[in-house]
Symmetry: C2
Subunit: 244 residues, 2 copies
């Protein structure tokens, strides 16, 4: 029995944005674990496979079940949307395996991140230095996140925001916008990509001062330009600085 766990980023949602390595790893798995919505995104690959699925809040239990199945000798794929290594399941799987003593080979397969997918949909906003921040304060103190927002705002970094807002958590996005407005113009371009690559995808090009009025939720990825970003011919561009 040679079980294994492969933690796989399946990309933003559309089958065309998966890598071949991700598809081959899922094809070879006997068990596939993941949040229900992400399993829907790979429904075409799941025939005949055992599934470990559950709601978003049960990710710790889902990860433990996946590691246990792998330890019992099964080939297990644990899937994340986007890239498994950016706010995905790669870290939890490795942390749990080392801390709880699961003795099983583990591999991480990277995917197209939500930030890269949103950037491509809007143009080229991430062409200069940028920061990748999550506004969720479930696992990190808000004071820490706030300090990071202040640092990246002052350093004029483009910002990609994960988990920008939920129904019960709205104040963080407002504070983030307040902080950024102290350092960059109200008209700074903002791109909001929601349900990227999936049914119901929405792309909204807005500005920093209007961001909080827009349709932004847990499935949104927000990109906020730096002081040089602009919108031209409908494209959100952060110029790299070439002399043309």
């Amino acid at each position: 029995m040679t079980g294994s766990l492969i933690v796989i980023g399946i990309g933003p949602g559309h089958p065309l944005d998966r890598t071949r390595r991700a598809e081959e790893a899922i094809a070879q798995a006997e068990v596939v674990a993941g949040y229900d919505l992400y399993l829907e995104h790979i429904a075409d690959l799941l025939e005949g496979k055992e599934q470990i699925s559950s709601g978003m809040t049960a990710e710790v239990e889902r990860c433990r079940a996946a590691l246990a199945a792998a330890t019992s000798g099964l080939r297990v794929a644990l899937v994340s949307s986007g890239d498994a290594g950016i706010y995905g399941m790669a870290g939890l799987a490795l942390e749990m395996a080392t801390r709880e003593g699961f003795q099983v080979p583990i591999e991480i397969v990277p995917g197209v991140s939500a930030a890269s997918a949103a950037a491509a949909a809007f143009g080229a906003p991430l062409m200069l230095d940028w920061a990748c921040l999550s506004l969720s304060d479930l696992l990190v103190d808000w004071s820490v996140i706030r300090a990071r927002l202040e640092a990246v705002a002052a350093a004029d970094l483009v910002v990609a925001l994960y988990n920008p807002r939920s129904r019960s958590r709205v104040r963080q996005l407002e504070e983030a916008v307040e902080i950024l407005l102290q350092h960059r113009p109200a008209a700074t371009p903002v791109g909001i990509g929601t349900a990227l690559g999936a049914l119901g995808q929405r792309l909204v090009l807005s500005t920093l001062e209007r961001l909080c009025e827009e349709d932004v939720g847990m499935r949104s990825l927000v990109i906020i330009g730096n002081s040089t970003s602009r919108v031209e011919a409908g494209w959100f561009i952060t110029p790299r600085g070439y002399a043309l």
Copy 2:
């Protein structure tokens, strides 16, 4: 005649890390433009296609030739390694098209970034907030880059460094390490991925204080942990903060 330009991220180098969308777009192209090394990575897809290739320093000319070919009615693919939107060709193509008046449909296809690929190879170092910085001062003043390094070092962000060092440009990496050492321990884990996914791939797990002594070049991507990052069982992990 309906020419078009598709700017494509082909992932870190290995064919398995391309997306299906990237492969299909290259398959449908009549002309493929890209830096020689990147065209080698997709040699299996190039049969019968016209090629526009040239050395790294000629990227502006290569982009203009690609746009001109598209404007003349050809389906043109312009390829970047990693993600085309992160220090890749997406920005230059959109900037040039809008500024020089090329009237042609343009699409950006995202790919697995070098940062995501390196992170997956080392474990899960990008699981908390991180910054994506380039140490190349060809297009951005070093004083600006330095200020960004100081900001992200103080805010305890994990750092992914692109273009960390070249044969003629070594001082920037030394300064970056000096700045980071003022805010995080000498033993902070560092992962250096060189020629990721390609022939001659090298993965070196080191520490912040030893980074400058390691084999780091233009094809390296460097990930520097934050104050909570650690190495366990050979994995470079930045814990997300779960109570296990």
